[in-house]
Amino acid sequence: MTAQALSEVATVRRMSRTGSLLRAVRRYPLGAFGLIVLTVLLAVAAAAPLVATHDPLATDRVARLVGPSAQHLMGTDQLGRDVFSRLVYAARPAVIIGFGAMLVGLGLGGAVGLLSGYIGGIFDLLVQRVTDAMMALPNLVVAIAIVAVLGGGQTRVLLAIGLSISPLVTRVVRASTLPVKQNDYVEAAMVLGASHFRLLIRHIVPNIMAPIIVIASVELSTAILAEASLSFLGFGVPAPDPSWGSMLSGDGRRFMQQAPWLVIFPGVAVSLAVLGINLLGDAVRDAFDPRLRGSR
């Protein structure tokens, strides 16, 4: 090895240690924005009592359907409850159910899809027919059916939504696995004596990360919306407790014309969360790909 080559290695090492966060932000500005949105969302959910200005359940007969003001940052609803405080508290079920359901759907659907694509044959055939059956019904119907069997409550709603979104994940993961497992490098690893577990984890999963990350961000938004719908139907977060979904679809829709702030703010919250998560997902996908890492 020449001295020049050695110094080259040293330079690469130094660069990767210092200022790696700054470089990441510069390379993926949208991803950084997504990360900020996500961090704010998680912080607000965690510190809701500190952030909220009012009790989210306290009603006020006098100040009903009042527009945004210094007193009520985002106005009040028809019962005089502070919209801002309700929005802040509603971040909790959104985060827990949204992320929880996304992780359940991704874990379950991903594992099933991966094995279905990898093993193939009869197993694949059976799994895919079950997936077909689940996909034939709308997500919400499946979720309602599951909630009806299991009963309500946050954990069960989370599981129900997770289960209902898993068939789509199964499909996407299976479809991505099929071409990847055909690659010579999978065969090469087999020749090297790699176990099935190693083939899946080291060779197949890293190469299907791009669609997985995309589907994860899509499923997260689906889960947040599903939570909203279930709450609207009375299966999700029980009535007086706030949830973005019930704020949007329940009271919000009824008084939308007189008090647009009732829907605008929860709507913006949902959109911003979903947008931020999608942007972060894109950036993470690119950052994971060595082919894109150096060329931006």
Binding site: M1, N183, D184, L192, R202, P206, P290, R291
Partner: protein, 342 residues
Amino acid sequence: MTIQTQTQSSKAYESTVKHGETLVDVQGLKMYFPVTAGLFIQRKVADVRAVDGLDFKVTKGETLGLVGESGCGKSTTGRALLQLYRPTAGTVNFGGTELTKLKGTELRRFRRRMQMIFQDPFSSLNPRMSVGQIIGEPLAIHGLYKGAERRERIQYILQAVGLNPTFARRYPHEFSGGQRQRIGIGRALAVEPEFIVCDEPVSALDVSIQAQVINLLEDLQGQFGLTYLFIAHDLAVVRHISDRVAVMYLGRMMELADRNELYENPLHPYTKALLSAVPITDPELERKRERIILTGDVPSPLRPPPGCVFNTRCPIAVDECRERVPEWREMAPNHFVACHRV
């Protein structure tokens, strides 16, 4: 630097086969792929006879060339030897161990002794792994060399295949086809195999790079005492690198002989036709020589013709060829041929 001092032998297993003895003994190797039909209940309707009864031996330290047209079963033979496909019938004896009987972990452990180099340098390297990870993977799988020793070993391998040791941190997409093929060769070498199946290792490369890779393979063979099964369709390349050459057609072996014997004194009509298709650079000679042009196409391996599989295109076929499968006969010492008319 110290990396040159590391030797191939430090972690070698005990090989029972000495130079010049039979390393791989293949008997009656058949590889059929079922063709199935039916929506839910898969019925077998036919077999693709990719490899249909091969007998040959590979001697330790030699290069056995395997030539034939596309789809004649060359690659399938290589993969069936390595048990990537489990053969339909036949035995593959590797230095005293019957590979077709090995299962799961036993087979995985045995894979240290036999490796493969792939045709396509682009799809054979995982784009998500750095070169160091790719070459280090076989070491990780077999638990060879730890920590700093492994890094040293990776650098040693990179140097052995003619790459800069600093490349370990880079990713496959940063390299050219020839360099990537060197990485693939390094990966195969990392576990110190005895036997390497080279599946058309140069046919995806530029001609100028082909020579470099061929020379590298020859150097490594000398350095580490490797045995190659060299699959190719380029007759010039095979002639250059092989000690012995086998000719395949439609899943069967037509002829097998020492390199010079096969190229100078081919006995089988298919071998003759194949050799006469090689262009000669001298235009005078090229104009004068007689070319054997085969008519028709290769029959489908789903329904190979009865008798000798070559009878449909053979210029000297007689009735016997259409009825009886020719035996695999040793016409001269070490010169085997399957033809009634020889």
